[in-house]
């Protein structure tokens, strides 16, 4: 593959650059009940999710990270979409996200086109782990 500026643009699409600059649900959730941490020992990327559970059910979450743009944007996209319905259909969302990243799914479907940006990462094999970290950390119940 020709890794020129064009494919870089594909990797760092407007969506990803935007989420990187203005991450959604970023910071510590004041009423969190637990935290969960993901770490990639290869590069040192770290993501922390602050979760609020009510009677065992996940209702809200925020995140913080010390990570690259891909990792941060991916976590931000995950939470933006999951928080739209307070994690009600998180299982499906999670499967779609991972499907895009491992190539078993080619697009995210109409409802969540934002996630299509994740597909562009697949042509950068060394960066898939960056995008996966958030998804591997915050698994559905």
């Amino acid at each position: 593959m020709k890794k020129d500026t064009e494919s870089l643009r594909q990797l760092y699409q407007a969506t990803i650059l935007d989420h990187n600059k203005n991450p959604r649900h970023f910071g510590v959730l004041p009423e969190y009940t637990e935290t969960i941490e993901g770490y990639n020992p290869l590069c040192g990327d770290k993501v922390t999710f602050y979760l609020k559970r009510v009677e065992g059910k996940l209702e809200a979450a925020t995140f913080e990270c010390a990570a690259c743009a891909i990792c941060k944007a991916s976590a931000s996209m995950l939470l933006e979409l999951a928080m739209r319905d307070n994690f009600c259909s998180y299982k499906e969302l999670h499967a779609t996200g991972l499907g895009l990243l491992d190539g078993s799914q080619s697009d995210a479907g109409k409802a969540i086109t934002e996630l299509d940006a994740l597909g562009g990462i697949r042509s950068f094999p060394s960066r898939i782990a960056c995008a996966r970290l958030a998804w591997d950390t915050l698994k559905p119940d």
Partner: protein
Amino acid sequence: MVYKNFDIEAVRADFPILGRELGGHPLTYLDNAATAQKPQSVIEALRRYYAHENANIHRGVHYLSEHLTEAYEETRSMVANFIGAKDAAEVIFTRGATESINLIAQGFTESILKQGDEILITHMEHHANIVPWQIAAEKSGAKLKVVPVLADGSLDMEAVPALLNERTRIFAFVHTSNTLGTINPAVELIEMAHARNIPVLLDGSQVVPHAQVDVSELDCDFFVFSGHKLFGPTGIGVLWGKREWLERLPPYQSGGDMIERVDFEGTTFKGLPGKFEAGTPHIAGVIGLGAAIKYLKGLDRTAALAHEQKLLEVATKGLLEVPGLSIFGTAPEKASVLSFVIEGLHPHDIGTFLNADGIAIRAGHHCTQPLLKEFGFAATARASFAFYNSLEEVERLVAAVHKLRKFFG
């Protein structure tokens, strides 16, 4: 930049990979601290070995075996000569610096370390010179002590005397840091340790590719390096040790080649170097390492080093003009290793971006996590230069970093 006796174009032509293209861009290989590229003469030596010379050594009466045993042992002498060792039997072939350090650390664990002893390392060590000592400490009940690093990336020399005490059994430190580029004052540190009768292990992985060393002058007790960072093959490395020390350590592995006589009543081991080379060694690796050393001998290394220092100077100056960029490791004595971070930009994104222009750098923790943590980084970007890198390549790096700064806004 043309130095007398150092023609960069001619040198580059010796390394076939440097002529490669990557996605329409010339390859700009600036990850030399991770591993160096190989000259044609090394590649050819390996081909010749497999095509014409292959046999096992130290165990045949036929021509090929005798011939190769000779070549293998000649390389040992060549290595000894290359690092200024007087006795070739003190040169042990290993898989690399990592295995060399493990050999010493395990030997110390078995024969020397006791409860309450101390092992001294520094805060800028590669994991290869941390983890084996952590394990040694755990097994023996010894304590691991660490010399701090100052803000500019140089060693805190004032802290050293108090850390070298009557309980210290070994001082193991890196000659040249793979992350900071810092060149430690090895002679001074070795003298300090010897004044208290403490042996010194010097991790020479990052000095041999840049400068000529002389272990007799340095007077260290152990010296280790990897062949692949010295323009030779992977899987081969060197442990040099003073005879008195190597004789005190037990064998590292056991089996064929390292024995004198095997009897079910008991086995006697060979002397040096055989005692530490159990089994069929990496013969091809040794032959390749020999070719790499031969190549370096044909080079004016003083001029090569001056060229590298020029590259470092130009790169440092150029990168510092990038808004938000800072350099990690600014000690006065530095090898051509440049770690940097850019505000708001993760090193991985820097690495991916540069890769799109055919520029190979390292992004990560460089196997020095404790060092990075101390300075509050999870990762840095690192460009490391070899003598075959050109000023044009440095300019390409600087231009690409400017471009990425704009891209990410």
